[in-house]
């Protein structure tokens, strides 16, 4: 009889314990959902605030006007042209180099200290703060190489930042391709480079593209390294046009020109005390955010589709 009582007591204690733990479970589930919802709402409010603040400026004039001392007439013409030209340089430097380095590490490099050394360096470069790249560019490109505070310098600087992203995504994309694709090509007499170029790279293209888009999106928004190399914040002229009407129809004088970029223009307007400039800053911020979110969104969607579609 006494033992039975004890059992029931134990049973009740256990039930209580189970109840308590189940309660903890649902409490945490509630907290987790609350945290995610709060973050989502907070970020939504932040972005909406930006778009609403900047909305009055969102018109064609804003894109076709130079910055000005008067906030009302000021626009981002020189900034978006500058950003575009800088990105062209970045693209043509970082993409070939990054893809080549990725191919080398995955397809060519023999396991050993040299491949390890490159690998460690790539991993560390991805974590170096962007402003350090700015200092490197200031010392190396601006003064050692004498490139000055030009579009070329900025493009090279941002390509340094983009390089690890392109290398890592190229490697991941190549690694996902099964060996039998390569073996089939080798079997019909293709050389290593033919295998790589005609087969491996073709299949890896989607993954490589994802990395390139994410890298470019990052380059659009980077501010610190471009400020560090001494980019001007107030530019009321355009660099020489890359396309001309005389043969050979392209000229490279723009590489040498002074410039500003979208995030620096935004930074400049934020730093002013007058509220009217803050509206301009918000509008510029909205442009940057929409551009980067759009690009990142495309890249993520692309990656998702590749993962889903490919079945070897």
């Amino acid at each position: 009889m006494a033992i039975g009582d004890q059992n029931i007591k134990d049973l009740n204690a256990i039930r209580k314990l189970i109840k308590q733990h189940k309660k903890n479970d649902s409490i945490f589930a509630g907290v987790g959902l609350f945290v995610i919802a709060t973050l989502a709402v907070a970020l939504l409010v932040l972005f909406l605030d930006l778009v609403i603040d900047g909305y009055p400026k969102m018109n064609l004039d804003f894109f076709s006007n130079f910055p000005s001392r008067k906030a009302e007439g000021a626009g981002i013409l020189s900034a978006w042209v500058g950003s575009s030209l800088v990105l062209i340089v970045t693209f043509f430097v970082a993409v070939p180099m990054g893809v080549a380095a990725g191919i080398y590490l995955e397809e060519y490099a023999k396991k050993g200290w040299f491949a390890d050394l490159i690998e460690i360096n790539v991993a560390n470069l991805a974590g170096v703060p962007s402003i350090i790249y700015g200092l490197l560019a200031l010392g190396l490109f601006v003064y050692e190489f004498g490139l000055g505070q030009s579009i070329l310098t900025a493009g090279l600087t941002l390509s340094l930042l983009m390089l690890p992203i392109v290398i890592v995504s190229t490697r991941e994309a190549i690694r996902a391709i099964p060996v039998h694709i390569r073996e089939a090509a080798y079997a019909v007499g293709a050389t290593k480079w033919q295998v790589t170029l005609h087969h491996v790279l073709q299949y890896a293209m989607g993954g490589v593209l994802t990395g390139i888009i994410i890298g470019m999106a990052r380059a659009i928004g980077e501010t610190a390294p471009v400020i560090t190399i001494g980019a001007l914040t107030f530019i009321a002229f355009l660099p020489p046009s890359p396309v001309t009407d005389v043969v050979p129809f392209i000229n490279f004088a723009w590489l040498d020109a002074g410039f500003t970029v979208l995030p620096i223009q935004m930074f400049n307007w934020i730093s002013r005390p007058e509220h009217a400039f803050h509206i301009n800053a918000a509008a510029t911020g909205a442009v940057i955010i929409i551009l980067t979110l759009l690009m990142n969104g495309i890249a993520i969607k692309l990656r998702y589709n590749i993962r889903k579609k490919i079945k070897w």
Partner: protein, 307 residues
């Protein structure tokens, strides 16, 4: 006979060209790989050579121990400690925000959320990692600080609290994403074993999954600290550019990164001591982030080796 010979020699000739091109391409690819090493050496080389003249004027002892940083005053003082204090304080605030929120998000997504919710939230987290920091700087200065001033009216326009909080929000997706990956990598069998013993999901997460993924989670924290220390635009915009030796979050203070930006915005006199001082500050920043990154990668590697 002669026919065979000519085919062989033709094939051979072709092979030489083929091999040569192949070799050339391999060398070109290797040179691109070499760039990664060259950049690292370039960073170290430039930081060291550009700041050597600085350390000829300012002793390393003064640089590391003096608590006054007044490069623009009549009597110039170059003690890095105020900038380090600002950096540490703001990063500390950011971590106070980001570690709890990021960890809860990661645990929830990994152990509680339905497949559908996880597949929706994860890409959004990745999306947020890509938001440019200058935009977060705008939020810190023009949205969060004014809000904080309503609660605490004495808060100056430039302070460390606002940018710290915003930096924390910026880091949350990063911690959540990396920590969630670590927890997802814990084998299902371990969870099933725990459930079979009658443990709830929260108990399983707390006593089985998190300890198993601990090194991955800690790596996420370490890499987040490194990001916070290197973050530039939020602090340059919203924390002020006055070097103060203080850990008080409601005061304004400059960080290492903010100092570099403020000097770069002015007229840089190449070879002047102001120019050299940003490279000296850069060395401190580089060493701090590099050691954290190496520590973080090492921790993460240890974790992947176990399963």
């Amino acid at each position: 006979m002669s026919k065979t010979k000519s085919t062989v020699s033709k094939a051979l000739a072709k092979n030489i060209r083929r091999n040569f091109v192949e070799r050339l391409i391999e060398w070109a690819l290797m040179l691109s790989g070499l760039i990664a090493i060259l950049i690292t050496f370039g960073i170290v080389f430039i930081l060291v050579t550009e700041s050597i003249p600085f350390f000829e004027v300012v002793s390393i002892k003064e640089f590391l121990t003096s608590t006054i940083w007044t490069p623009n005053f009549e009597i110039k003082n170059y003690g890095i400690l105020p900038l380090v204090a600002g950096t540490v304080t703001i990063t500390g605030i950011a971590l106070l925000v980001a570690i709890p929120l990021g960890t809860i998000t990661a645990v929830y997504l990994s152990e509680f959320a339905s497949h559908k919710l996880r597949e929706t939230v994860k890409p959004i987290l990745e999306l947020l990692v890509g938001v440019p920091t200058v935009v977060f700087g705008y939020f810190a200065l023009l949205l969060v600080t004014p809000l904080l001033q309503k609660i605490y009216p004495d808060l100056p326009t430039f302070n460390m609290l606002g940018p710290g909080i915003v930096m924390g929000i910026m880091i949350v997706p990063y911690i959540a994403s990396v920590a969630e990956d670590a927890m997802r990598a814990v084998p299902m069998a371990m969870r099933e074993g725990s459930y079979a013993m009658g443990a709830t999901r929260f108990q399983t997460a707390k006593t089985v999954v998190m300890p198993a993924a601990l090194s991955g989670i800690i790596a996420a924290y370490i890499l987040a600290i490194s990001r916070g220390i290197g973050e530039t635009m939020i602090v340059a915009i919203a924390a002020g550019q006055q070097p103060n030796f203080t850990f008080n979050p409601v005061e304004s203070a400059a960080t290492i990164t903010a100092y570099i930006v403020s000097v770069a915005l002015g007229d840089l006199e190449h070879g002047g001591i102001g120019y050299q001082s940003i490279f000296a500050a850069g060395i401190v920043l580089f060493i701090m982030t590099l050691s954290l990154n190496i520590l973080g990668q090492w921790t993460r590697k240890k974790f992947t080796e176990r399963y």
